[in-house]
Assembly symmetry: C2
């Protein structure tokens, strides 16, 4: 049932302005852009692009959540970035004219546009504003990556686990109850982000649960004591 390719849909209903980097474009530019993009619907677990593939364009997430993963040593998966609606993905390889060094997989059903490569390059060349937006996006991703490096180098697993929960909350926000993190990841996926074993991940979540920092209901994690979670993460401020 899975991985049978995305279902193409009309592009008329999706609003490209959703994607923050395009907010700098004016009405005419957006209209023009829409001609050169096509939308597709992806089922949960489908690949948007894969490691070592060649970029054909820029992907814009209209709805749904995406993980960017790379295959590490002994085939172990590493989650590099987590992406939400409004974000662009695949811009790095596209801009630097390289193959993808990671894969993009949907974490839930998603609607994603692809903007034609040639058109995108024309667009950023003619609109410095747009170019700066994309540059800012990459700059932000670089900062996040380097923060992750410091965390992995200097923090223990417990601290990183608490930090990861705060990161998930910051990225995807809460559900209507104002405490449940609005994303469903398996314990293994969380471990693949934190850089630990699945067992250690499960154990620590259990501990946090026992300590009433969080509560667990299946894959859904609720933050009960934000202050204590921040303390556990050992965040400086």
């Amino acid at each position: 049932m899975k991985n049978n390719g995305p279902i193409e849909t009309s592009c008329m209903h999706c609003n490209v302005r959703l994607n923050s980097v395009f907010n700098v474009l004016d009405e005419g530019q957006v209209k023009d852009l829409c001609i050169h993009k096509s939308c597709a619907v992806y089922k949960k677990g489908q690949y948007v692009f894969t490691e070592n593939g060649l970029p054909a364009g820029l992907f814009c997430i209209n709805s749904g959540k995406i993980k960017l993963t790379t295959t590490g040593y002994d085939g172990k998966e590493q989650i590099l970035r987590l992406v939400k609606s409004g974000d662009i993905v695949g811009y790095r390889a596209l801009l630097s004219n390289e193959r993808y060094h990671c894969s993009a997989v949907t974490l839930e059903d998603a609607s994603i546009c692809i903007i034609d490569k040639k058109y995108f390059f024309d667009a950023i060349e003619s609109s410095p504003k747009l170019m700066f937006e994309v540059v800012k996006k990459m700059s932000q991703d670089l900062k996040v990556a380097e923060d992750h490096i410091v965390s992995l180098s200097q923090k223990n697993v417990r601290e990183r686990m608490a930090e990861a929960l705060l990161f998930l909350k910051a990225t995807y926000g809460f559900e209507e109850d104002n405490q449940t993190i609005n994303v469903s990841l398996s314990r293994e996926e969380i471990a693949d982000y934190v850089g630990t074993s699945t067992e250690s991940c499960i154990r620590l979540l259990s501990e946090f649960n026992n300590d009433k920092l969080i509560s667990l209901k299946g894959k859904k994690i609720s933050i009960l004591n934000l202050q204590k979670l921040i303390q556990t993460a050992n965040i400086e401020d």
Copy 2:
């Protein structure tokens, strides 16, 4: 004696083309650029810019080696990037209009140009080629950072140490003897890159030395058995 500020020198003797991103400029553009940059000589250990500072321009390394470091938890230093002559530094914060999130410190005496901020922005706006060069640079740094994340998440200290030596070799190359890595870092600095304790770093270098993978002479490290070091690093290929 240290940190008494860089000594300003004439800009006439330094060739901006050294800096790879500027290779795409033509003769006239280089000449123009030279008017808007100023060179400075730094002693070993001096700060080029510091964490939380505001960027005044783009730094180009004419000669010397630089480390980009950030202060982690409990004040522990993390080395994020290592830079050599021809490279640019401080571009991330400059482009995204943010404060520096890391400091740049010279590892040896260095000659560094600073290109005026306003002029640099004009230059990249008028020259898409230059813009793309800078974007490629950031893209490369992002890739390296994400590779580092995978390594920190999935490899043990021994593997990361071997990998770090290969990284130092790839970055700075060998001396004339074709085996001595052309950079002098303290054991603590290497540990701050690898993400381990100074003691573990010293111990592992000692081990590699005993196993004839490398040889040690003060801060100078020579690679004696590249093949075995690659194996130890557990590099896939």
